[in-house]
Symmetry: C2
Subunit: 209 residues, 2 copies
């Protein structure tokens, strides 16, 4: 893996350059309104050069999404595996996601609008592949939760639904943070999210009669 001549190394660097530039543009203007000419311009490559690296605009977009998503997932998996209790695992998961997106705002915009955008969904392949990625993420969540229920750390609610709920909360927190130019770092909200998730928002009046 590490054996790459200068040639190949430079090629990879250029490829990455294209992806980085494209990421910024796609995040800014969305897939449809970003033109290849713009990507070529901004990356200072010619059109034909782009096609040397990627067979189509869609493929640039998709490569972008999958590579970064894989990266995020493997970070999460690693972080989660370090802990034993479900609460710690969930905390690690949220923390990792927040940190990651704090460093990759542009990517989050693409990630979230793709994930919610039904634009592809129908379209074979692309939409399918993206959806599978997200499924994997939900599954990871769901597994942690199921384990937590078995360990009697988590209430025996429907694990899939908890997973949806949590994923939604995470996305929403990040989304709002990106939308409003707030100074407070995203990670300062981790604790609030976890409190809300673990303890709920109600002040319990011992009314479990």
């Amino acid at each position: 893996m590490e054996k790459m001549g200068r040639r190949e190394r430079e090629r990879q660097a250029r490829r990455q350059e294209i992806l980085d530039v494209a990421e910024k543009l796609f995040a800014q203007k969305g897939f449809f309104k970003t033109t290849l000419a713009e990507i070529a311009d901004a990356s200072e490559f010619g059109m034909a050069t782009l096609y040397q690296f990627f067979p189509s605009k869609e493929e640039i977009y998709f490569t972008l999404i999958t590579e970064k998503t894989e990266q995020l997932f493997s970070l999460i998996e690693k972080a989660v595996s370090r802990f034993d209790s479900s609460m710690d695992k969930l905390k690690a998961l949220v923390t990792t996601a927040f940190n990651f997106f704090e460093d990759h705002r542009d990517f989050f915009k693409i990630f979230i609008s793709e994930r919610s955008g039904f634009e592809w969904m129908a379209k074979e392949d692309l939409g399918l592949r993206i959806n599978q990625l997200y499924e994997r993420y939900l599954m990871m969540l769901q597994n942690i939760i199921e384990e937590g229920i078995n360990r009697k750390e988590i209430r025996p609610l429907n694990p899939a639904e908890i997973a949806y709920g949590l994923a939604g909360m995470i996305n929403s927190f990040i989304f709002q943070w990106i939308l409003k130019p707030v100074k407070r770092p995203l990670k300062s909200r981790i604790q609030n999210l976890l409190t809300m998730l673990f303890e709920g928002i109600a002040i319990s009046h011992k009314k479990n009669a």
Copy 2:
């Protein structure tokens, strides 16, 4: 308001027909991949006729979104106002939203992908207007929560953050329900969402030491 001659009534009906057809198509293929020719075809109007009713494709799209969203919001406002305690209000809100989207799946697809799609965001006007709508929704949530905190029914967490979290949960529940062709009605999940929201998912071990 009710005084409309046949002429005007028919015109309104045709307008609505266009919006309905467009809704289905936009939900299916997204804004960019839906062509006016398709809308004309499906609604059995000519191109020029569409332009008689709406000045542009964008305007059809936006009209669609705002009209239905206003409709949803006013339902929610009405439902919420019937209750006193914050918990009941939140329950009414979730119930209304779930019921509404259960009946308007197509619209939800558009709503959610627009709300998360940064595609417009940059674009003046449209993106702005859509965002304001969503802000209003978040504000409604936030107000209920603030009131609940004052009434000591809800923990004194950051109200805006709770609002984001809850909105995210709601969206995520609906989203998953639409994605997977599940037989179980959406409303059957209301209670689970509320439990999760109110009580949290942790089994408390009286460990508040």
